[in-house]
Symmetry: C2
Subunit: 190 residues, 2 copies
Amino acid sequence: MGGPKKPEQERCDAILAAAYEIALAEGLDAVTARRVATAAGISTGLVFFHFQSKDGLLEALLGVLLDGTLDALSDSGLARLEPWDRLERMIRVELERLVEYHDAVELIFAFYFSRRDDLFRARIESSFGRYLAAFSPVCREVAAGTRIQGDELAATVVALVQGALIQAIRNPETFNPESILATLRAVRPA
Amino acid sequence: MGGPKKPEQERCDAILAAAYEIALAEGLDAVTARRVATAAGISTGLVFFHFQSKDGLLEALLGVLLDGTLDALSDSGLARLEPWDRLERMIRVELERLVEYHDAVELIFAFYFSRRDDLFRARIESSFGRYLAAFSPVCREVAAGTRIQGDELAATVVALVQGALIQAIRNPETFNPESILATLRAVRPA
DNA sequence: GTGGTCATTGACCGCGCGATCAATGTAGAG
DNA sequence: CTCTACATTGATCGCGCGGTCAATGACCAC
């Protein structure tokens, strides 16, 4: 027994990487302590040593997923554009970015729906909240001086992006963000 | 051993009802043969006698869920309305109906994301397909004579409805379909 | 060297799962 | 009444899971 020692973070990263791979390849259910340990080339016990419980491991994995997708909001300098152009640009960037990572997004949804308790949901919920908050300012600007309510527009935009994500997950090969963007451009008030 | 005999369908319905209750109350993971049997007041073996396998039971349960929600499209006679009014009406009806059954819809998403294979996905996918098909005709009418493409509009509408569903699942108490409907009305071309 | 700290191992425990099956009860046909 | 077909039971099997732990190795301070 015993073996080579490695610094905590390096080990944790390796375990998480193994868990990530298994989850991507075979789904959340396949992420068991034994399989992760084997994939990482370590023993079962070490997984619990570093993450306390399976839930601890999954929470950490969810954190990695969120950091790489929902929480990685780009706020490229778009201040010079018209509000409508900024909003359209944001939607385009988000659609393209999240569609690119559709498999990670799929895992996030799998996390969300795998449990009814708050362990994962609260975490995901707060990411979604930040997502809405990121769209809110420009939506308010777009709505200013029109019949549209800013917060209602923001809710609609987020719903549209989420729905588009579902479609991208359902059929990544044929889903095309341009369909949605073209429709948006067509209904844009002059 | 042995016990009172009941006709096949009656038993199956009872088993499915028990499974449905457990799934709604505690999630898909809680649907095990033992628990369903206990809830239905029968023995474990009888579940397998009637449904062959756990997957068989889950497939049947998914069928019940889809029949009650996605597949229950209302095609109330709206032929007299303008295309835009018809579309808006369809969206309103669907939002209100599916939000009412948000817990069943949540279970459908749980089915979808619980597995990566086609066992459940194909079934759900075909229901989503019918959903899109139901929106397509009116979307084509709405798009006729505008810059909008009918099929792109339909894809956008379905994405919007799906995204709204996610929001309704996330927060059933505060979600309000009117936010989205008001925004749609505001962007409607004159 | 020696001692202490901590990462690491892998056997082990108890559990609940899906599934099986011989035994048994029930109902209807003849 | 008997025979047959079938619904029903519950003990049972094997499995993989999450989690634990005493033993052991590696490393560092002195």
